[in-house]
Amino acid sequence: MLNFIKYEWLRRWKFFLAGILVFVLADLDLFSRIISQESPNYISVILIALVFTLSAALVVDHLGRLYRTLFSDEGFTELTLPLSGYQLLGAKLLAIFLECVAVMTIVGIVAYFDAIYVDMIALNWQLPSLTWEIGLEVLKGLGFILGGYIIFVLMVYLSLALAKSIFATFKHGILIAFGCFIVLAKVVDYLGDILSVSARYYLHGSVAFMTTTDWLIIIVLIGLLFISTGFLLNRKMNL
């Protein structure tokens, strides 16, 4: 399983490094312009556009990882490895989780250094001290966003797995997968009442109002989607 994560990283570390470099450059450019009260020029626009493009590419890549396995010839390599469907899916998700954590950490570090610099040069502004309560609140917020993102990725994965298992004999696999995703979104909405969790989060602007049940719903949804997709990968694939 760890080997699988290793190859997921080896495949895209250059892309990841490029993303970090562009983000840091964009931050430096914008920050220096704000400090010197200059207007952003075309370089700033290009850098920001690149940051958004690379972020979108990362999300598309996350969703495409199982697509490549199921809809391209690479599936013959991955699905004949001595790994169960659960291990394969777990490795893919763990790699995505680690990448998301890495992105959040890098963004956090850059923002922190920006704040320290502002604290040094701005006379009428003071960096608020970081307390445990604030730290916990931030972590809960990031956990909520990450949980929602993993649910979204798993919904796409389950749709793809359905298209290549139960509906594999039908033509237009992608259309079927899209149909499955729409149905799944409705089911997840109904089962988990995830929208009320989101509403509670956004209305109060704080995760402190999220109950243990809300977190439990997120975990149960992830578990259900993982087990269903893993089962299909394990027993029902038709490449």
Partner: protein, 232 residues
């Protein structure tokens, strides 16, 4: 000793039956030729044994286990398509196989890569179809597997490469391993086959010992093939 047992194996796609109630077994230490024209069900049967496709009915037992992680540990599958990740170099492919398969012999594989006129620094995307075919065979045959499934291993290879690939296949046969080669190119492969299974419309049209068939029918396997499929 029996290494693979197939019972009542059927595979249907909506209304089309690709494999129809197949029953056969493979013994250890033999090279089997799975012969048949295009769309006779050879690739589907290979994919079912490899575990990438599921049967509609029936079951497959390899080395005492139903298809799953345990059988994937002992089955080395070479598909017809280019299944190797495009971003890799040949060297990275070798590491990949070594990391995932305990039975992969890296030293042997590296030697074979050189023998086949390939270079470990070459990227998969830069390989010609002949080079790719040779690499796929090197990777599949460098495992100390119990069962090798080679789906059209000679496709796209020139005559010299074919000779080298056949030589490599012969060198890889061990007492406890079995090779199942699917092909519709009989002439060059006939001499290495111990047994043959001829598929026709998803059913076994003929199966048996290659030498016995040659003697009883008084014709080569290629001629026998033409006789079986002349109206197909």
């Amino acid at each position: 000793m029996e290494l693979l047992k197939v019972n009542g194996l059927t595979k249907k796609y909506l209304t089309k039956t690709v494999l129809d109630n197949l029953d056969f077994s493979l013994e250890e230490g033999k090279i089997y030729g799975l012969l048949g024209p295009n769309a006779s069900g050879k690739t589907t049967l290979m994919k079912l044994i490899a575990g990438v496709t599921q049967p509609t009915a029936g079951d497959i037992v390899v080395n005492g286990h139903h298809i799953g992680v345990m059988t994937k540990q002992v089955v080395s599958f070479l598909p017809t398509t280019n299944h190797l990740p495009k971003w890799m170099t040949i060297g990275r492919c070798l590491s990949y196989y070594q990391d995932f398969y305990r039975d992969f012999d890296l030293k042997h594989a590296t030697e074979r890569v050189e023998l086949m006129g390939l270079n470990v620094s070459q990227k998969i995307t830069s390989l010609s179809s002949g080079m790719l075919g040779r690499l796929k065979v090197v990777l599949a045959m460098s495992r100390q597997a119990r069962l090798y499934l080679l789906d059209e291993p000679l496709n796209g290879l020139d005559s010299i490469s074919r000779e080298k690939v056949l030589q490599m296949i012969l060198e890889s046969v061990r007492e406890e391993s079995t090779i199942l080669i699917s092909t519709h190119i009989i002439r060059e492969i006939e001499s290495i086959l111990d047994k043959v299974i001829l598929l026709k419309n998803g059913q076994i049209a003929l199966a048996g010992d290659a030498e016995d068939l040659r003697l009883t029918r008084k014709m080569s396997i290629e001629e026998l093939y033409k006789e079986v499929y002349e109206n197909a």
